[in-house]
């Protein structure tokens, strides 16, 4: 129709439109536009020829009788569904039971810990003087200014 060369690739931007053309999904104007392009583009013309020739060839597939399900197909499917359910239902039930037990254990544990916390007496707040005494004990100040120098520089004496 448009060309003889087979195996050429069409212009990438036009492939979808060419597929529409061979499947007759285009309006008369759109089809005419494709034909005009194909007359001036050897690649699209060749690809269009090849793809167009595939339509009647592949159409033979529809003439071939379709495979039919066996008469017991529906019964087999439903038996398989029930079989799978029988396998998974006890597992599902056990999983749910485990979930409930785990939730109950966590709740009981949380309640117990809350209860324990409430039973412990809250220690009274320390007095201001006690706080000051604690601060002075934990951070001893050097007696003299020079001692602090000695403390810092004592590491160099050995050298």
């Amino acid at each position: 129709m448009f060309g003889k060369r087979i195996g050429a690739t069409a212009c990438p931007a036009r492939e979808a439109r060419l597929e529409d053309y061979i499947e007759r999904r285009l309006s008369a104007d759109e089809a005419a536009e494709v034909e005009t392009h194909a007359r001036s583009c050897a690649r699209c013309a060749a690809a269009l020829d090849a793809a167009g020739a595939s339509v009647p060839l592949l159409g033979m597939l529809r003439a071939r009788p379709q495979a039919q399900p066996s008469p017991y197909f529906v019964a087999r499917v439903m038996a398989a569904v029930r079989g799978e359910q029988d396998v998974w239902k006890p597992v599902e039930r056990a999983a749910w039971r485990l979930c409930w037990v785990a939730t109950a254990v966590v709740l009981i544990l949380a309640a117990f810990l809350l209860h324990l916390q409430r039973l412990q007496p809250i220690p009274p707040a320390p007095e201001q003087s006690q706080v000051q005494a604690l601060v002075s004990v934990s951070a001893p100040q050097p007696a003299y200014q020079d001692d602090s120098y000695l403390l810092v520089s004592s590491g160099d004496h050995g050298r």
């Binding site: 195996g7 060419l18 597929e19 061979i22 595939s54 060839l57 379709q66 495979a67 439903m78 569904v81």
Partner: protein, 208 residues
Amino acid sequence: MTRSAGEGQRSEVADERQLVRRAQSGDEAAYEELVRTHQHRVVAIASRLLRGSQEAEDVAQQVFVKAYFSLRSFDLRSKFSTWLYKIAVNECWNHLRKKKARPLVYEADLSEEQSERYQGAAQRSGMVDPEEAARQQDLVEWLLGQLDPKDRMMLELKEAQGFSIDEISEVLELNPNTVKVRLFRARTKLMELYRRRLNPSRPAAKRG
């Protein structure tokens, strides 16, 4: 008063939705009805995509079992049939992948003598002779078997199962434009193989 075709179709869809809803709430009889309605198409798809394999019906059965247990995830936004065919195509694809080798019924390469016979058949138009038609169909099957499995699947859905572009794009989760491009390329590849098969000397002469 007679109902129009559109009304009939709408009512069918509504009935099917009702069946799906009932099946979703655990009504096995409703699901059985859905299986009965779609069994022919699913078996045909499996048989085509698995190339007439004996396992096609087992795979089709697996499709329905899988669909039953995934039914709650189906949100009724698309057609039940499209959702089911998507499961069927995926199941066939997984089956082919597990098997690694393509299970071809028509896997034997064509001899020169067969090529000549097919060439003769291809050149004649009309094809009244059923034997010749069968031979042509075998040739098409053989050619499809030579394609990349994804290209083949797309052509099978389009040409053998009569899927629309929209249906293919939904089943394969591809943009409709991508489907068209891939179909077009698959067609040209198929015809390239066809020419080479019928004229084996042509590409060899080119390469040499």
